[in-house]
């Protein structure tokens, strides 16, 4: 029975009222008294030496308050990196300085050189055009493998070479994996590229720095997924502002997909500038600028080998990946191809031996960091592609090969050979569910129907696993994280019974204001509308780590549950006093406290009022008030998984692929709001289809971005995606968080790309084009046609 409120109910998203009626409050909606405008002069070349940067004439232009260059920032630190990876020889990664403004050299198209602050944006732009800039162009390093050649031009002169790290995992298994592959009955090999993506959230980045001379305090308004993290990184490492003198506000944020996790140079620049010019300084990124200044995603080149025995059981997986870091290390960049990628290379399978090698490379391109899924889509893509290819080579059903190698339901908790322990899962159930939803048994009939219309039909399966909830602080600390990864919540009950929950999680499209309220209301048994969720302001919420890695409900939600439990425990003490009963006999149900076995009861509101008007109150034993804070640090990641199945039709003549159906059968553990979960899957799958079919970031050999606008960078649109069939009825609750939830934010983007590509390859094989083993994403018409025709 669907519920109509609380946990499990599809409550309508309350935040949508303001988003859909145009009364949201995004950073660009904020306009301050005396506000000035910042404009960044950015490099037009990928690699160059600044021979002359003369701002004298430009500084005299109308409306200009100040033009900043690196010379003004000598006291500031570089933009920090939040994760240190240790290479397979035990050495720390090479970590270059990432200056706020270029120091003598530019290293990618879009690298900021100067920041003009003026009365109006147009004046700032005019002045930027008047800056005299002489850059001596240097050879650009674009191709990752070429970047590692001896004698290759270096992106950073002070590093040994362009190799950030050479990482091996699990290093002790290296020889055993080699041996297993050598002795295997069959080895399937695949080389593939995980295409570089530009994140493109609907709202471009914006930052406003506001310095208060009266209080010697700074406020930064910014489009961030984690304002506390920005406060910590920028305050401590860049501008040396103590946290009590720095407030960071991330109001409504229009999508992030990872790209708004990081601390960016522009944030530090406007904050710093606001003190110098003693006025608020606003920077609004244009869409064109976002293409060359938002951290990009993916960009892996991989070779994967899958070894099997005569019974088709997987015996080993070996992968070698080149991961593009771009010109500088963005906040979490080093962790993405390593810990968020290597630890997932067992997938859903019982493969006993896994070895993952990753070479992270500096190039003269925009920095690369997490993008929806972050490392896990890269792992899933190669694994699910190679399993598909193996099934074809062995002549077996791809669903059957997967089923055979899956970890069995009774084998959980399951220790993988890549460090992590999967707490729960039932991959057979999700795969069977997905196959039932697509009517797998009758697929051949649909193939014949398509054939009659002159089209090739194909079906592709992918079964993904991800690690979410990022995660136990002590573990990530050992792995090189320079931050903790708990979450916090403060639950403040007001005297008349309403609640405000201040969470360190940040909502930028996920609907937390609705689903978080459902949880708290359900625990107390009151109406959801009595609970307000507040987030995005370091002055309100306790120190929190923010939203990414599908961690909000699993970690932030758990913190909120813990704080609410404390509230309930204290409220029961108050109730026991008011009801003159012993605390152990007090029960809370439907918003009322009662004494077990009696008809004595008192309402939630009465207890709250007593806590704030403590006339009849056990003051000697209990503090007045009803406000509690909890920090929650999970003991493990969570492991959502699911079967993603795509059906396509290929037009042989033109190479055009149409997606006819897309089915997702997920195990997200317990689900708080099914409608919101379904929406998260829809969005994720749409992005996954975008990656698989349309999106690609192309640099030419000189480091010019050829896909720098929507004229050449293809975003998915409504007509590019089918109606989705989504299910999450297969539930194995997470065992180590109080809600039993696993997280659903990234799943769609992780599971869908291999399903799409597998479907296209399947269609081509069914159509007799058996020479086509692989097509790199995006599987554009031109690429499909070229593959069919061996071009």
């Amino acid at each position: 029975m669907p519920k109509d409120s609380g946990i499990g109910a599809s409550s309508k998203r309350r935040e949508d009222v303001r988003f859909l009626t145009g009364v949201g409050n995004y950073t660009d909606d904020i306009n301050m008294h005396g506000q000035t405008y910042a404009y960044f002069l950015r490099s037009e070349v990928a690699h160059g030496k600044i021979n002359n940067l003369d701002i004298a004439d430009a500084s005299a232009m109308p409306g200009v308050l100040k033009i900043f260059t690196a010379d003004d920032l000598t006291a500031a630190g570089g933009v920090p990196c939040g994760w240190q990876v240790t290479d397979r020889f035990g050495n720390p990664m090479q970590e270059p300085k990432h200056p706020i403004l270029a120091e003598g050299k530019v290293r990618h198209v879009g690298d900021p050189i100067a920041c003009v602050v003026a009365e109006t944006l147009e004046q700032a732009r005019d002045a930027a055009e008047a800056i005299e800039l002489d850059i001596e162009e240097l050879e650009a390093v674009i191709d990752m493998k070429a970047a590692l050649n001896d004698g290759a031009t270096k992106v950073h002169d002070d590093l040994d070479n362009n190799l950030c790290y050479d990482w091996g995992f699990v290093e002790e298994n290296r020889d055993a994996v080699d041996e297993a592959i050598k002795n295997a009955h069959h080895v399937t090999t695949l080389e593939l590229t995980n295409n570089r993506l530009v994140p493109n959230p609907m709202e471009p980045r914006v930052a406003i720095g506001d310095y208060s001379r009266g209080k010697d305090e700074y406020t930064l308004y910014t489009t961030s997924q984690n304002p506390h993290v920005i406060r910590l990184l920028m305050g401590a490492f860049v501008l040396s502002i103590p946290e009590h003198k720095l407030r960071v506000v991330a109001p409504d944020v229009g999508g992030g997909f990872g790209s708004k996790i990081y601390h960016y140079a522009e944030e530090a620049m406007v904050t710093f500038a606001s003190k110098v010019v003693n006025r608020p300084v606003k920077w609004t990124c244009s869409r064109s600028e976002a293409f060359v200044s938002d951290a990009h995603g993916r960009d892996h080149v991989t070779k994967i080998e899958l070894a099997m025995d005569e019974n088709h059981m997987f015996t080993a997986v070996r992968t070698e990946t080149y991961a593009n870091m771009g010109a500088y290390l963005s906040t979490f960049a080093p962790s993405i191809p390593t810990w968020l990628h290597g630890t997932l290379m067992a997938g859903n399978y019982k493969t006993p031996l896994v070895y993952v090698n990753v070479k992270a490379v500096f190039t003269n391109t925009v920095p690369v960091d997490a993008y929806r899924g972050a490392g896990r889509p890269e792992a899933t893509y190669q694994l699910e592609r190679v399993v598909d290819k193996a099934a074809r080579e062995l002549g077996v059903d791809p669903a059957e090969l997967r089923r055979k190698n899956f970890i069995k339901p009774e084998e959980f908790p399951y220790q993988t050979p890549v460090a992590v322990v999967y707490d729960t899962g039932n991959y057979h159930a999700t795969l069977d569910k997905g196959l039932e939803m697509v009517d797998y048994a009758n697929f051949d009939k649909r193939v014949a129907e398509s054939k009659a219309r002159g089209k090739l039909r194909g079906l592709g399966i992918a079964h993904f696993i991800e690690a979410c909830g990022i995660a136990p602080s002590n573990l990530v600390g050992q792995l090189g994280a320079r931050a903790g990864l708990y979450e916090s919540a403060t639950v403040r009950v007001n005297a008349t019974g309403g609640l405000v929950v201040m969470t360190g999680s940040h909502s930028h499209g996920q609907g937390h204001e609705t689903s978080f309220a459902q949880v708290v209301a359900d625990m107390i048994g009151i109406d959801e509308n009595m609970v307000e969720i507040v987030h995005g302001d370091t002055n309100n919420a306790p120190m929190g780590m923010g939203t990414y890695g599908s961690r909000s409900i699993a970690v932030g939600g758990s913190a909120m549950v813990r704080a609410t439990e404390k509230i309930i425990a204290k409220a029961k003490k108050v109730a026991s006093h008011l009801l003159e009963a012993s605390e152990g006999d007090i029960e809370l149900k439907d918003g009322a406290f009662s004494v077990a076995g009696t008809d004595k009861s008192i309402t939630w509101g009465e207890v709250c009022l007593a806590a704030y008007v403590p006339h009849n109150y056990p003051l000697e034993d209990l503090e007045p008030g009803l406000e509690e804070t909890a920090f929650y640090d999970p003991s493990n990641f969570t492991y959502p998984s699911g079967a993603y199945i795509c059906e396509v039709e290929v037009d042989e003549e033109t190479g055009k692929v149409d997606i006819l159906g897309f089915t997702a059968a997920d195990d997200f553990g317990n689900v708080i709001n099914p409608m919101i979960v379904e929406g998260q899957v829809h969005g994720g799958v749409a992005q996954g289809i975008g990656q698989a079919m349309l999106e690609n970031t192309v640099y030419d050999e000189n480091g010019q971005l050829l896909t720098g606008s929507y004229m050449d960078y293809a975003m998915p649109r409504a007509a590019d995606v089918p109606n989705f069939s989504v299910d999450h009825s297969c539930v194995t609750p997470c065992t180590h968080n109080p809600l039993g939830v696993k997280g659903c934010g990234e799943a769609g983007a992780i599971g869908s790309p291999p399903a799409v590509v597998n479907a296209v390859i399947d269609a081509l094989h069914r159509g007799g084009h058996t020479h086509v083993e692989h097509i790199d994403m995006p599987v554009s018409p031109a690429r499909v046609w070229a593959a069919i025709n061996n071009k």
Binding site: E653, M693, L694, Y710, D712, S780
Partner: protein, 262 residues
């Protein structure tokens, strides 16, 4: 965007006069010009808006001739020629999105002669006449290569006059990002022969495919095209498709156009 003066004449004569000034340029729907000005890649000191000139608005159908005012939007064209010239209506109805179709105009599109634009193929395949404030230009003389036309400085397209073919079809294969044509083929069958114009593919912009025209004039069937091979020299190679792929698409789309012509 740099500052500029905007003039809003109500007659062609006023517009022509306003365009005599230094650094003046016509502005029609602004769907091409305004974005480039915002990026500071183009711009003039004076923009002369053409959309307030009544004589440049609307569609007149007389016998088998359609005359479309230079400042008529794609949406209006699509609606008004639906019965008389369905292929042209379909072309106009698939340009960009509703916002673009309700601002962008035929004159702006033809004057701009973007190598991937749709209208130039219709103008060329129909053997249409481009009418300006001072003369009439045959389509075959008008298009002069990528973004280049026979228009002189300050000359305005006031109308485009289309003879209506017996049947025609526009086949647009979209470039995945811009949704302009990666290749577009317009096939038009007249009593005295067939014209085939190709957009999106030529290094010199829109062009006629003479071999296909000859073959189809003799035998208007897809089979007639089958035997032809369009060389890929002089075709565009870019990140969305090679010259070879474009050559192949031209043939496929021509055949489809013949099959679907109405």
């Amino acid at each position: 965007m740099h500052n500029f003066e905007l003039v809003k004449p109500t007659t062609v004569e006023e517009a022509v006069a306003a365009l005599q000034g230094d650094d003046a340029q016509p502005l029609s729907g602004g769907q091409t010009l305004i974005p480039t000005m915002k990026q500071r890649l183009a711009g003039s000191e004076q923009l002369v808006s053409l959309t307030g000139i009544a004589s440049m608005q609307g569609v007149t159908i007389s016998g088998s001739t359609i005359t479309i005012g230079g400042a008529t939007t794609h949406a209006t064209v699509s609606a008004e020629v639906a019965a008389t010239y369905p292929a042209l209506s379909a072309l106009a109805g698939r340009i960009g999105d509703p916002a673009v179709r309700n601002r962008g105009t035929i004159g702006g599109s033809v004057a701009n002669n973007d190598p991937a634009a749709c209208y130039p193929s219709a103008v060329l395949a129909s053997g249409a006449t481009v009418v300006t404030n001072s003369r009439e230009i045959a389509a075959d003389d008008f298009f002069q290569g990528m973004f280049a036309t026979d228009l002189e400085e300050g000359e305005i397209i006031t109308a485009v006059r289309f003879p209506v073919p017996e049947k025609a079809s526009y086949q647009k294969f979209e470039q995945p990002a811009s949704r302009f044509s990666l290749v577009g083929v317009f096939v038009a069958k007249f009593a005295d022969g067939v014209r085939v114009a190709v957009t999106g593919a030529g290094e010199d912009g829109v062009f006629r495919w003479a071999e296909a025209e000859a073959a189809l004039s003799a035998n208007f069937s897809a089979a007639a095209v089958e035997a032809l091979d369009l060389p890929s020299e002089a075709l565009i190679t870019d990140l969305h498709g090679t010259a070879e792929y474009r050559a192949h698409l031209i043939k496929v789309l021509t055949k489809r156009g013949v099959n679907e012509a109405v």
